[in-house]
Symmetry: C2
């Protein structure tokens, strides 16, 4: 047994130190990747770029994350979990469903705007056809969002302000609608002369997507009285 070889008295302290070192090095690697993505506006970074930025040996990537894709998956997990915390707080709010839905739509667009690489990274990891990565993304990111939206839609139906829509299809169309401006950056230059989504474009897009979905969800006035 491996355990028997380590004296108990010292192992706890050592394990604790090792654990905190692990987390700080792993975090340093994640921060380095995040900063490089934002600086370069590209996913084209090498292991040695990450090593240089984090001042850590690139062998640590293999140690903590298995490979570069494992590191990227961990970065998505970290960034997406911030959005999920906000989403859970939204669900707990004592507010009418239409207000929650407006906040949710703006929240999705803001998180794509705040973390401009998130979307490309998600697309890159999925595009790679890595089944394990795809399943992980579905479980930690997609399912909670689908459930949260279903809860808001149901609340809105009970309050008599939303008509019934297909909640699962709603997830795909609404997230796709929020996502596309930030993904299709190739279209920004010819259409708006901008190379990235400016603050003004973000506001204009939020206003448009909110308008489309809130109008589409609203129960017609003559029906809401019934």
């Amino acid at each position: 047994m491996l355990e028997a070889k380590i004296p108990r008295a010292t192992s706890e302290k050592k394990a604790s130190k090792r654990k905190s070192q692990k987390f700080s090095s792993a975090d340093a690697l994640l921060n380095a990747v995040s900063e490089l993505f934002i600086e370069r506006r590209s996913l084209n970074i090498s292991l040695s770029d990450i090593a240089q930025k984090s001042r850590l040996n690139s062998a640590l990537i293999k140690y903590y994350f298995g490979n570069k894709d494992g590191l990227l998956l961990a970065l998505i997990e970290r960034d997406a979990s911030q959005s999920l915390v906000a989403l859970n707080a939204l669900l707990e709010m004592d507010s009418p469903a239409d207000r929650k839905m407006r906040i949710h739509i703006a929240g999705i667009i803001n998180s794509y705007h705040r973390t401009p690489y998130l979307n490309r990274l998600l697309h890159y990891l999925i595009g790679n056809g890595e089944t394990a990565a795809s399943k992980k993304i579905a479980n930690f990111f997609v399912k909670p969002v689908v459930e949260a939206q279903r809860a808001i839609l149901t609340q809105g139906e009970h309050e008599g302000v939303f008509r019934q829509v297909d909640a699962e299809m709603f997830y795909f169309s609404m997230v796709g609608a929020c996502d596309h401006l930030f993904f299709a950056t190739h279209s920004l230059q010819p259409l708006f002369g901008e190379l990235q989504v400016t603050e003004d474009l973000r506001r204009r897009y939020t206003s448009h997507v909110t308008d489309i979905y809130m109008t589409a969800l609203a129960k017609p006035r003559n029906e809401s009285a019934s």
Copy 2:
């Protein structure tokens, strides 16, 4: 697509023969890639896979398309141009705007469904950060679609059936909405137990996206009479 450099001194007959050979070999390469993408449900194909499938030397890829990305860009151009022909025919139709918009939405979803690799390929080429490829995609694909949608939206406003919406933002949100089910295939399995978009899911999604956008576009009844 890269034009092959043909010496000026060649006779017209020779040039014509070479031109038709060029087109048939180039087409054979494009067909091979398209078939491989559909067979394998993946973008992971090598130059030697393409050579084997097309029974042509892989050096011809470099000759006709510069490199593999050039070949992929030409494939997108070919497949997207079929959709653009259909879109132009739609614009010429003597039909009310709401009917045109319904056909347009179903058409976008159908083209993603018919050519399942189109979307991943577009995402792959854009994700590569190839500025030349991104610009080409914007010019041959995005601009014509934006203009077509603007024409249908304007027609609908004149006919008194559509309210005014932000036509440029509409392009991004609507195409994003149509696109996401086919891109986010990682979410299909956990949500529906399906590994790809079935005929039934396609119909359900078309019905949902059409419902959302047609409801959102409709001029409220009390206003349409004014």
